[in-house]
């Protein structure tokens, strides 16, 4: 990940050259600071929802579809195909997920949701890879087409069965859920184990309770799909960066002509990337229906395909980065849904973080960035002090504003696949 620290001056100033990248140690350190700061803010403002296990649980649930869409975008764009049709593929996933869940049970809902998303992706792949159509145009067309298909199918299948043009009947079948024993009080062969983290959270001790709450939020009442999705992050990393097939897929996005000359089947790789992308978007749709709502509703995806793209860009086209982006956006969403005071308290967190960043910049002799950061932090603090509430609509646009900010501040440090979005024709190089 290269969206972290540095420029050339910092490289000279910092003796060990590993300061250049955000390595694992630094990520953990940063995460540690964030947790300490959040606990402190929770303690000062007395807004328990800022770090309650319920908030973390909700954040995780809200992050899953974003993460799936983001990983989907990652697979597609790593093979060089821009995919703004993710939203449409997710819509197909919601419809087919609901239909499958309603007819055959939740497991089949998942399978059909994935297939629905893949079908949308197949259209995108045929248009962009085989016919070389502009990838943005094809994505827009798929978004329009998917809404039409879902609406039409709803009218045909759901009317008269407790649903209609815009919604399905209730999907009653559920997927298995999981609570980790001993940590969060899960069942072990019918015996209820102690809820250690829950007990610690209830003590409201500084830091200890906050960390327990966070861990409890990630271990209690998990959907099996959530677990699978989280596992997909390391799997994606391993697959794309540590296997031969993954290398070939990425080579199709980095330099398809070079890849072709080495015998890589570029078209096949691109097809694979786009189809996996659609499958993940479809899974995200199925998750929304089967885990979040229990019903298909028109407009249910609410732009999550686009937020997924935002998470992918925020994460610099890397799996762990996508996870960070999805987590951030999910957390903001969760706070927005659960508690207005907590959102307000978050302003204090942002203010302190900005001032801290500014001081760190100043010690690195980056005067302009430091001053700007401190001023912004001061303004945020003023906002925190003067207003009692943050308008809901402002929180709902956080993912988009964050992405624009990251893009405009750090676009030099982001590195997208080199031939992302550029049509590839066998044997004819246009650069």
């Amino acid at each position: 990940m290269s969206w972290g620290t540095t420029d050339t001056t910092a490289l000279v100033a910092a003796p060990p050259p590993q300061g250049r990248r955000l390595d694992t140690r630094r990520v953990l350190l940063l995460l540690g600071w964030i947790i300490v700061l959040l606990s402190g803010v929770r303690w000062i403002t007395g807004a328990p929802d800022l770090t309650s296990s319920n908030t973390y649980g909700a954040a995780l649930r809200l992050a899953v579809p974003i993460l799936l869409a983001g990983l989907g975008g990652l697979y597609s764009e790593r093979t060089g195909v821009a995919n703004i049709g993710l939203e449409g593929m997710m819509v197909l996933g919601t419809w087919f997920g609901a239909w499958g869940g309603w007819h055959f049970g939740a497991e089949w809902g998942v399978v059909l949701g994935i297939l629905g998303g893949t079908a949308g992706a197949l259209v995108h792949a045929v248009a962009t890879v085989s016919f070389g159509v502009n990838q943005i145009v094809s994505g827009v067309a798929i978004n329009i087409l998917a809404v039409g298909v879902a609406r039409f199918l709803s009218v045909v299948t759901f009317t008269g069965h407790g649903g209609g043009a815009t919604q399905s009947p209730q999907v009653t079948s559920e997927l298995p859920r999981l609570t980790v024993p001993f940590l969060a009080g899960g069942d072990l062969f019918g015996w209820q184990s102690p809820d250690t983290l829950g007990w610690l959270e209830q003590r409201h001790w500084f830091l200890i309770s906050d960390v327990s709450a966070m861990l409890r939020g990630f271990t209690v009442d998990l959907s099996i799909l959530t677990v699978i999705t989280l596992l997909l992050v390391p799997i994606t990393y391993f697959f794309l960066w540590r296997t031969r097939l993954g290398l070939r897929m990425r080579s199709a996005g980095e330099n398809p002509w070079a890849a072709e000359s080495l015998g890589v089947r570029v078209y096949t790789m691109k097809y694979l990337g786009v189809l996996i992308s659609g499958a993940l978007a479809g899974l995200a749709g199925a998750f929304l229906v089967l885990e979040a709502a229990g019903i298909y509703r028109e407009g249910q995806t609410g732009g999550r395909g686009f937020i997924g793209l935002a998470a992918m860009i925020f994460g610099n086209w890397r799996p762990a980065g996508v996870l960070a982006g999805a987590g951030l956006f999910g957390y903001a969403d969760a706070l927005n849904l659960r508690s207005a005071p907590a959102v307000h308290a978050l302003l204090l967190f942002i203010a302190i973080a900005l001032v801290g960043l500014g001081v760190w910049y100043l010690t690195r002799k980056r005067i302009f960035g430091g001053i700007l950061s401190i001023v912004l932090g001061g303004l945020t603090f003023l906002w925190f002090a003067l207003a009692d509430i943050v308008p809901r609509q402002f929180v709902s646009i956080t993912p988009y504003v964050t992405t624009l900010l990251v893009l405009s501040v750090a676009s030099q440090r982001l590195r997208m696949p080199t031939y992302d979005g550029i049509p590839f024709r066998k044997g004819s190089q246009i650069t």
Binding site: A82, I84, V123, A127, F131, G132, V133, N134, I136, V137, S138, V140, A141, I142, N143, I144, L145, A146, V147, G148, V149, R151, F152, V155, V156, A165, G303, F306, I307, L309, A310, I313, P391, Q393, F394, S396, I397, P399, Y400, V401, T403, L404, L407, S408, S411
Partner: protein, 368 residues
């Protein structure tokens, strides 16, 4: 038939064949649910050729047409303004509120509202333009983000600042009504349907865009940048300036998309304002081959399909089938367009190769 005309005919075949293909797919869809496509199309045709249907089609086509123009202006320079949707909604909201806040003589009032709408549309588009020029952020990504930001900011503004004070228990969320001086009376009433006057302004706008893009220096620079950005830059065209201007132009036009509905129907910004027009505009621009006349035809076709499909519900056929029809039209148009482009290109390459060979043979003959 000369070669130039043959190529033009080929281009014209693209949208026509796409529509025929889409009708075929829709027929299959209808057959699959046990409905007769022939009777469906027949009733659509007889309903769609009534006078009032014609009027309604024009009314539906006007916003689509303007949206198509806004998108096409960007496309001509290879700029993807996916943000037309957000620009249109922000503009409609602010212009409606501004129009209700002032009282002016009738023509001035209309002009004022349109100016506000264009300024807001252009302003919203300028964010993406500045991000692209100054920070190298791709316009597709920034406009997608800005569409969603527009939804949030618009909802916030409407709920907190621009909303009409609630009377009693009325729950309507809307801006205050624009006074009559800021409304446009219908042009005519044909068959019980009002023909909205904004169609005249839309026609003028089309002419303006045509002249600007195809008959001025600016338009030449814009098209040149679209065809070959490197050649354009070398010939002295400042790409950044062109991006700024084109994006502002596109956003300004996008600001006018909602005006027909505002002047002729709603007279206030409400939550019932149509959504998705910006994306439909992309479709219309593609089907109309980015040409004002073509866009007009495409907008009319899309508007007509919308209107004519209303009859299907009465016959128990889900009218949603036409959304599939439209989606298939878009996809098949872009695919057919790509195929034709490649065909024309390979013919040009072949012609150039023959020409070179001929010249070389002549030269050898002279040398001998």
């Amino acid at each position: 038939m000369s070669k130039k005309w043959r190529i033009r005919l080929l281009w014209l075949l693209v949208p026509v064949s796409a529509i025929v293909f889409a009708v075929g797919v829709s027929s299959l869809v209808l057959l699959s649910i046990g409905e007769s496509p022939i009777s469906a199309f027949r009733s659509m045709f007889s309903y769609g050729t009534q006078v009032n249907s014609f009027v309604s089609t024009v009314n539906r086509a006007v916003p689509l047409y303007i949206a198509g123009l806004a998108v096409a202006v960007g496309f001509k320079m290879n700029l993807f303004n996916i943000g037309v949707e957000g620009q249109y909604r922000m503009a409609a909201l602010v212009a409606a509120a501004a129009g209700a806040a002032v009282t002016l003589p009738a023509p001035l009032h209309i002009a004022f509202i349109m100016l506000v709408a264009m300024a807001v549309g252009a302003g919203w588009a300028s964010i993406a333009a500045v991000l692209k020029v100054k920070r190298g952020v791709h316009e597709v990504v920034s406009t997608i983000m800005l569409n969603s930001i527009a939804t949030g900011v618009g909802a916030y503004l409407l709920a907190n600042y621009l909303r009409k004070p609630a009377v009693g228990s009325e729950l309507l969320i809307a801006t205050p009504q624009i006074p009559p001086s800021g409304q446009l009376a219908p042009l005519a009433n044909l068959g019980g349907e009002d023909l909205r006057s904004f169609v005249l302004i839309a026609v003028l706008l089309g002419v303006f865009v045509y002249v600007l893009i195809w008959r001025t220096r600016f338009g030449f620079d814009l098209r040149a940048t679209g065809v070959n950005p490197d050649a354009a830059r070398v010939s002295g065209i400042d790409p950044n300036k062109m991006i700024m201007r084109t994006m502002l132009l596109s956003g300004g036009i996008a600001g006018l998309i909602g005006m027909s509905d505002l002047f002729g129907f709603f007279h206030a910004y409400t939550l019932d304002f149509p959504t998705g027009l910006g994306f439909d505009g992309i479709a219309v621009a593609l089907v109309g081959l980015n040409n004002p006349l073509g866009i007009a035809v495409a907008a009319f076709v899309f508007g007509w399909v919308d209107r004519a499909a209303q009859i299907l519900d009465l016959q128990g056929i889900p009218k949603e089938v036409i959304v599939i029809t439209k989606g298939v039209i878009i996809l098949s148009v872009v695919i057919a367009y790509e195929i034709v482009r490649r065909l024309v290109q390979s013919q040009e390459v072949k012609a150039a190769a023959e020409e070179t060979r001929r010249i070389e043979e002549e030269r050898e003959a002279v040398a001998a």
